[in-house]
């Protein structure tokens, strides 16, 4: 089912054409990355899809959808604490109090922002604000998630958490994101739309390759490797093992290795 269709759409703001001759069709369940240089029209395109912008010329059709939106820059001047903000915003979207608490707790844990819950948002760091920006959109349990440069200002650990979360959502939600980050494109989006000067210059599909990490660890005794039969492992020398794990499983495997008394020698991305 198509949730968005645009035919020869252009958008003019204050006399400037920010989008030109856009023809695009988005189906339910797709994950799409919109890439392009700064000022190429990525954010405008996402706003057109979401309904913030209406076309100046051309026709569009939008299905009625529950949309979650993550802006490129989270608002600077929100006076509420993170906790108050998330509760208020979830209630605005019509979520029940009991459900809200559980959901907020789980996202707060995932993004490790528990210690800042009572901090006014305007005093939080850019990264924390970005995390709150992502949480408010996910709390809505949207049918379509629009993310404008979602990894801006986030550290590597949080970036991989965001990717993991989006991968989980991608199973039953349409995701459209703008990005400069190759990691998002290669791990999440099979469809890539490239824009330049407000025009779509390419619309292609790629195969998603699963990114792997290589962990080299010293094991106290070889027998514990039996605990790790579910991963690709190789004993490279006495008491030293090398394991290949999917990027998204790295945290889990590292935890198991450490619990078994192993010491991590090296962790690197497989190229």
């Amino acid at each position: 089912m198509d949730i968005f269709k645009a035919r020869k759409v252009s958008k003019e703001i204050a006399g400037v054409k920010v989008l030109q001759d856009i023809s695009l069709c988005v189906s339910q369940g797709e994950t799409i990355a919109i890439k392009g240089t700064n000022g190429s029209g990525k954010s405008s395109l996402i706003k057109l899809i979401g309904g913030i912008y209406e076309p100046s010329y051309g026709n569009i059709e939008r299905a009625e959808m529950n949309i979650g939106y993550v802006p490129e820059h989270f608002p600077e001047n929100i006076r509420f604490s993170i906790n108050d903000y998330l509760h208020l915003i979830a209630k605005i979207s019509g979520k029940l109090e009991q459900k809200i608490n559980k959901k907020i707790e789980s996202y707060v844990d995932v993004f490790a922002i528990g210690e800042f819950l009572q901090t006014p948002l305007r005093k939080c760091s850019k990264g924390t604000k970005q995390k709150v920006g992502i949480i408010q959109a996910l709390l809505k349990e949207p049918d379509l998630i629009l993310l404008d440069e979602p990894l801006t200002g986030l550290d590597q650990t949080t970036q991989s958490k965001v990717i993991k979360l989006l991968q989980a959502f991608a199973n039953n939600t349409t995701i459209i994101l703008t990005t400069h980050e190759q990691v998002l494109i290669s791990e999440l989006a099979p469809r890539i739309i490239e824009v330049d000067k407000g025009k779509i210059i390419s619309d292609s599909f790629v195969e998603i390759k699963e990114k792997l990490n290589i962990i080299k660890a010293k094991v106290p005794q070889n027998s514990i490797l039996q605990e790790l039969t579910f991963i690709d492992q190789k004993l490279i020398e006495e008491n030293t093992v090398e394991v290949k794990v999917p990027f998204t499983e790295s945290d889990k495997v590292l935890k198991i290795l450490l619990e078994q008394g192993c010491s991590i020698i090296e962790l690197k991305e497989m190229r």
């Binding site: 309904g51 913030i52 949309i67 802006p71 001047n77 929100i78 605005i92 979207s93 019509g94 920006g133």
Partner: protein, 234 residues
Amino acid sequence: MSSFVHYQIKSYIQSLKFIPPASLFLLWIFILYTYDNAPILSSYGASSIAIYLTITWISMTVFSLEEEQEKYILFFQLGRKEKYLIGKWLSIIVISLPLHAFAIFYPIMTDSFKGSLSLPLILISVSSHVIFSFFGILIGTLFSATKWGTKKYSWLSAVLVIVLSISAKSLAELASIANWFLWIFPPVFTVIKHMEEGDEILFLESLFTDSIFVLLYLIISFALLIILFKRKES
């Protein structure tokens, strides 16, 4: 919608933007009732004008509470842009309630009137405060939530419209040609004329027709504002 109104009011209180208009309004009321034996209807007429200015001011500050990104997030959380506008209007109405209460009850509690209050007098007075606050919301919205509001001189334009609407009768007397464009401004005189002739309400045909006119003016204006707001936010 009640959650959005809650969000707005909480945000407005924390911004402290209510302090200047509310303080000025309270001061106005205190000064208005400095002396006892005030005539009922014309005093309430004066406080209605104060409400008009104050609510215009409050409306403009309520509409400027959020920056663009926060507004977009709220659009998506609410699901429709119209809900945002209507939620703002409801928030302004809730914010204005204590001011209405103060304007109506302060002179009663301080026994400032020379006559005694009757139910019709109270009804007329409350209605005039409500109507003037709607006029204020109208002007405030026009110059802060439509394309008129993005102009550099939105505050100045709002003040100009208020002054023109209040002085419409005098302007029309000076030059009858002014009637050709003055009808577009909030019909302040249509309301106030019923409050300036002593404390006796004359239930004339004109009161009924004027009420219908004001009601129609408000309905059409608010409908137009929704269209103008949607045009701006597209």
